[in-house]
Amino acid sequence: MNVHEAKINTMSDPDIILSVRDLRKQYSATVAVDSVTFDVRRNEIVGLLGPNGAGKTTTINMILGVLEPSAGEIEIEGIALAKQRSRALARTNFAAVYAPLPGNMTVYQNLRFFGLIYDVAELNARIETLLDQFELRRFRDTKCGVLSSGEQTRVSLAKALLNTPQLLLLDEPTASLDPATAQDIRRSIRDIVTHGSGGILWTSHNMYEVQDVCDRVLFLSHGRILLEGNPKTLPGEHGVASLEELFISLAREPLAYAENGR
């Protein structure tokens, strides 16, 4: 499918939440992301996997509108990010370990601030719901800077769900959580996708988590998507026992997969 055909499909398919077409980011002679094309559909969690420096965060930053692509197109619910940034980002939200909320404001103040920016209707009620959902009620008036990293992660996730986003970008959302809390959070996010109408792009280095939560995975290496498929069947298709083995093999020998194509 060429880019033109893909564009037509996106425009005619209301099930596609995120459409990324031929995305490229180049810094001088370095190509960080090259010809990346993928979709995220409604009620779908897509895992974006790859070794450090593969281009995952660069891709997410471009989808969030804080990094301009050198080429390519991004549409969120059919709205072109480059042309209608505000409308597209109103349907989006994110949580990332490298973007903690301001530590000098309380949990409530942060949620209120971002809730107003996302123009959330009935904001107070929404904040109260999220405080309960992420077990943050007792930290309501605590400054985020004094919370543990796991508690801060839960606040970031609560902020990410404030506007009930159609597209949720989660960059290693459970990295700072203990296994029990991480499992609860995964279930909670899985429920949101199952019962809601949005989709999620999820990055993680925890392959067991990816296998548990993602419907589909994209393997990124050196800025290119090398593999795509169901995380439960993909290892078998490539003659390895687990997703972790596949990840290690791909990280060490990306050229072998690049030659085979997607």
Partner: protein, 267 residues
């Protein structure tokens, strides 16, 4: 522009001010010290100068208006620095918030914080040193308006500078008012400056305010067209400063600086 988003930018600053005396005290402490210092200097000069000449309206009035302008500028820059200090750019700019809403929120914050400083200065200057603003008459309104607009313009420009050059460059921003004051005719007429300095003074809106203020105090003819020119210059400079901020922002998005701001440069 969405008023809730503009309010959010202001509300964030309000939350920070409410919980932090170290943010509240500078709103009025330094300007109050300036008023006390220059108030006594004006009183002393009154005792050693020719009888009947009052330095309070010209000298203390000039200090008050100049400090007001400084507070307006810093009202914008400090609100911007809060996002720099808390590394909040990614959270703030990966949202539907537009640059115009963000900048308007910074300006709204500055209006409130600079008014606090202005009220404290007015109370001190009038009650302790007998400065009467009736001396300036209704011209006080355009004087304050021009200085306010120029403070906003410079605040937006200084924020653009820090966005472009990185967090450490905030130290370039603090001395800007002191750097401009010799050219802005705060305490002396432009005519005493060398020609090259006068030309810089002509593009600075405050110089029209202070020239006008001295003319009014001395009972001399006052050129309202000059003040209008100062007003027009300040408005043009706000537009230019906003365009500069937008351009720097777009460049930071293109280069990747916004996403990796703590690195200070991505070259």
């Amino acid at each position: 522009m969405n008023p809730r988003r503009i309010y959010a930018i202001f509300l964030r600053q309000f939350y920070l001010l409410r919980s932090s005396p170290t943010r509240v005290v500078p709103l009025f402490a330094w300007v109050a010290i300036d008023i006390v210092l220059w108030g006594f200097i004006a009183r002393y000069l009154n005792t050693v100068s020719s009888p009947g000449h009052d330095f309070v309206p010209s000298l203390l009035g000039a200090v008050l208006l100049w400090d007001f302008f400084t507070r307006v500028m810093q009202g914008v820059t400090i609100a911007f620095f809060e996002d720099v200090w808390s590394r909040n750019f990614l959270n703030v700019f990966a949202t539907p918030l537009s640059i115009s809403e963000y900048v308007t929120g910074l300006v709204l914050t500055s209006i409130v914080t600079s008014l606090i400083g202005l009220v404290v200065m007015l109370i001190l200057a009038t009650t302790v040193f007998g400065l009467s603003f009736f001396v300036y008459g209704v011209l006080l309104i355009p004087f304050v308006a021009v200085l306010f607009l120029f403070g906003i313009a410079l605040g937006i420009f200084a924020s653009a500078l820090v966005l472009r050059l990185g967090p450490a460059s905030e130290w370039l921003v603090w001395p800007i008012p002191a750097l401009l004051s010799p050219f802005a005719a705060v305490f002396y007429p432009l005519s005493v400056l060398p020609h090259w300095m006068q030309w810089i003074g002509y593009v600075l809106p405050p110089s029209y305010v202070f020239e006008g203020m001295r003319a009014v105090v001395a009972g001399n003819a006052f050129s309202s067209s000059a003040l209008l020119l100062g007003l027009a210059l300040a408005l043009i400079q706000i537009v230019l400063a906003y365009l500069c901020f937008s351009r720097v922002y777009r460049s930071a998005v293109r280069s990747g600086l916004l996403a990796r701001y703590s690195a200070e440069s991505v070259g």
